[in-house]
């Protein structure tokens, strides 16, 4: 199989699997237990935390809490920060292209009485800092902008937004970094981010582990109740084996990020060329390295249901996806593509290809030739709008 769905999940690294198995076998005690075995588990947990902090320069181990994944991290960050700071204002800002775990959090907050501004994006999927600045009011308490978009790979100007918000004291800044860590450079402390989310299974780590950075002194209310684990922000017995293994996964991913970006960008360019050669297909998102992540290519086949393309590709052992995995079951047009192009046809026919470390020229050539073949086969079925 040719697995081209790395934005949805990544194959765990062999060393990650080994680490997880070993820790699981040896350190099953509850890290909150007072006895020696419990302490050992606690030690491992803290060691993992220290390792994580060291991967993000300028951050402190105490600022990292472990969650069950990106969705939970985004939920805690947004709902927790909004609720905790409600007294200071009721206006929130995000973008129209966020992941459902962010978008739906804001929708829920709207129902709770908050006012939310959803910033538009341009044809590259990129939000404008000027728009953001214009949207800020005295009532604004939280801004949440994803770093890399999960459907089209658009890179948002996080550093610039960070600079802007630094002048606005009291406006908290959340960044969803689930698709960016290990793929493009990340500078949590340097950007002046207050909250940052990442997920281990997007970097060849185990499922069920996420990172939530909560800058020191940041008031955030917990969503779950029932224990004082993870700075009283995320109770529940910590998944020690998966957390230790995820520290390893993040390390491997971040250490090889620059080299991976170069490799993937080459693949991305190759695939973009190949799509440009097929007149039925249209590439979605930007080209330049500063606005487009190296590991995602999104294109539309207007007039064709994307599921059909995905199933046809699977016949040729190619695994791709439509939209994000978190919303792929709905028949709705892609919210992201709608925001970028406003075209229903284009937004209902998007297909996403995302790369990983195992891909090289051979895999890409196969993908390109199969794409051409599938389009040829499907051509008679096109529905012209």
């Amino acid at each position: 199989m040719y697995y081209f769905d790395h934005c949805a999940s990544t194959p765990p690294h062999e060393e990650v699997i080994r680490t997880m198995a070993e820790v699981m076998a040896k350190h099953y005690a509850n890290p909150s237990s007072l006895h020696r075995s419990g302490q050992e588990a606690r030690n491992l947990l803290e060691r993992a935390r220290t390792a994580i902090a060291s991967l993000f320069p300028g951050t402190d181990p105490k600022e990292w809490i472990f969650t069950s994944g990106g969705t939970e991290g985004n939920n805690i960050a947004i709902a927790g920060a909004a609720r905790q700071n409600k007294k200071r204002g009721n206006h929130l800002i995000t973008t129209a292209v966020e992941h459902p775990s962010v978008y739906d959090s804001f929708q829920a907050l709207e129902r709770d009485g908050f006012r939310v501004t959803y910033l538009p994006v341009d044809e590259n999927g990129v939000v404008s800092v000027a728009d953001l600045e214009a949207a800020l009011t005295d009532e604004t308490i939280l801004v949440s902008v994803m770093h890399v978009n999960n459907e089209v790979g658009a890179i948002q100007p996080i550093a610039e937004i960070g600079r802007l918000l630094k002048q606005r004291r009291g406006v908290l800044f959340h960044v969803d970094g689930v698709q960016s860590v290990g793929k493009v450079p990340v500078d949590v402390a340097g950007w002046g981010v207050d909250l940052f989310t990442a997920s281990a299974h997007k970097v060849n780590g185990p499922r069920g582990v996420g990172l939530l950075y909560v800058r020191k002194g940041m008031p955030v209310a917990p969503l779950f109740l029932g224990g004082s684990q993870e700075r009283e922000l995320r109770p529940g017995t910590e998944n020690v084996p998966a957390i230790v293994a995820s520290a390893k996964a993040f390390r491997l991913a971040l250490e090889s990020q620059p080299e991976r970006a170069v490799r993937m960008r080459r693949l991305r360019e190759r695939l973009a060329d190949c799509i440009a050669d097929v007149p039925e297909l249209v590439l979605n998102g930007g080209i330049d390295a500063d606005i487009a992540a190296p590991h995602v290519v999104n294109f539309s086949y207007p007039g064709m249901k994307p599921e059909v393309v995905v199933h046809m590709l699977e016949k040729h052992r190619i695994l791709a996806s439509t939209k994000s995995a978190c919303s792929s079951k709905s028949d709705e047009p892609s919210r992201v593509l709608m925001a970028m192009y406003g075209s229903h046809e284009r937004a209902t026919s998007g297909i996403r290809i995302s790369f990983g470390d195992e891909h090289g020229d051979t895999e890409l050539e196969w993908l390109c030739s199969m794409l051409r073949k599938v389009v040829q086969k499907l051509k008679p079925l096109e529905r012209k709008g």
């Binding site: 680490t19 007072l34 302490q39 520290a247």
Partner: protein, 406 residues
């Protein structure tokens, strides 16, 4: 400004006459140790000062290392130039222009150590000041309360130009005022007491009493972490004596004088610490007592407890309130560890109504009636576990598990 040198200034011990060279030497040694990672830095000592020539090594990094060394009162990043008027003027302007925030007022304080230099201090104030004023419109001279004092020191081997004097830890070089045993509980106070003692030039060995298996290893880890933090300031490894107090505590608890148990425990602890001090050649005990804070720290209690030892009992925090102590604990980085909620041996046997005014003769009588107390104390001393803690030793948190997992 891109400083090319740092002036390191010594503290009050420069007044000490004959012993001075000992202090100077000790401090020079500590500075050398602190900058060991920055190989290009060159060190030269003069009367009451050390000059560090950076040779391209980063100023900020070295300043951080110097900041916590006891005995250094202040440091200044400086530009050193040839003692020639125009060169001095342009260096002065450069220093002023590179301030993080442009001030509205300043003054020049020139000092001519090298009397061969043609202009005296007064003239230099004017000559340098007028140049800066010409080049930086908006700036004014204020000789009484300037925002920035631009200093120009004309020395025989060059002129130092600088604008900031950064206060540092102060005190005496570590270990120049003898050695004492620090009674370290794991709470907020005793690490601060240790720090203040060390700042006054005391070499410290720490004593911690534990009640294993009633208290957990976490309490021990916590104390190790505290000692490690203190060793950052000593710049030298610190010995930690871990004393098992379980047996003595149990015996005291069974004596049937509940309100006096803390008094009795403290007295036994002091006796043990005293014996350990004798073994180590320490001439005093340091404790984190603060007057009135708890029952065992009333004057009456301090009297009865203190009589258990003949060594001087130093209480650097005695007149401080909790708030002041907490501020220092945060500054020196022990607070976060101190507040970790692990039982120490004293919290185990806290009586409902501890005596605030114990009677010495009653206490002594109770002690006489406890069978084998002396022997238990001797045994505790003999069974003391010794650890040597350095700032760079990794703690158990960092060493649990296998390195290959991370």
């Amino acid at each position: 400004m891109n400083p090319d040198k740092i002036i390191v200034r010594f503290g009050e011990f420069t007044l000490k006459g004959k012993n001075r060279s000992k202090f100077d030497k000790k401090l020079e040694e500590q500075v050398r140790k602190a900058i060991r990672g920055n190989e290009k830095v060159e060190l030269s000592s003069t009367y009451g000062r050390i000059y560090l020539t950076l040779n391209g090594e980063p100023y900020e990094e070295i300043a951080v290392k110097l900041k916590d060394i006891f005995g250094i009162v202040s440091i200044s990043p400086i530009r050193t130039v040839e003692s020639e008027l125009e060169t001095i003027r342009s260096a002065a302007l450069e220093v002023m222009q590179s301030l993080p925030k442009q001030p509205s007022t300043f003054k020049v304080s020139a000092r001519r150590v090298d009397k061969k230099f043609p202009h005296d201090s007064q003239e230099m104030n004017h000559l340098v000041g007028s140049h800066v004023l010409r080049e930086m419109p908006g700036l004014q001279v204020n000789v009484r309360e300037p925002e920035v004092e631009l200093r120009v020191e004309i020395q025989p081997d060059g002129t130092h130009v600088f604008s900031s004097v950064i206060p540092t830890a102060g005190g005496y070089p570590y270990g120049t005022n003898g050695k004492a045993m620090l009674l370290l509980s794991g709470g907020i106070d005793s690490p601060v007491a240790g720090y203040l003692g060390m700042r006054q030039g005391l070499e410290i060995e720490a004593v911690h009493f534990h009640s294993y298996p009633y208290t957990s290893d976490k309490a021990k880890e916590k104390v190790i972490d505290l000692v490690r933090r203190l060793s950052h300031y000593s710049g030298a490894p610190i010995k930690l004596h871990l004393v098992s107090f379980t047996e003595i505590q149990t015996a005291l608890a069974q004596a049937g004088h509940d309100p006096l148990i803390i008094t009795l425990m403290r007295r036994s602890m002091l006796r043990i610490a005293e014996q350990l001090a004798e073994r180590s050649g320490a001439l005093g005990l340091v404790s984190g007592d603060s007057l009135g804070q708890v029952a065992s720290q009333t004057l009456g209690s301090m009297n009865v407890i203190g009589r258990a030892t003949e060594l001087p009992l130093l209480r650097p925090l005695v007149t401080m309130d909790k708030n002041e102590i907490t501020i220092i604990a945060r500054q020196i980085g022990t607070f976060e560890t101190s507040i970790l909620p692990y039982e120490d041996c004293c919290t185990l046997f806290v009586p409902k109504s501890p005596s605030t005014n114990p009677n010495l003769s009653v206490v002594e009588k109770i002690e006489q009636r406890i069978e084998g107390l002396e022997a238990m104390i001797a045994e505790a001393v003999a069974g003391t576990e010794l650890m040597i803690i350095s700032p760079d030793i990794r703690n158990a948190v960092e060493t649990a598990g296998e390195d290959s997992w991370f």
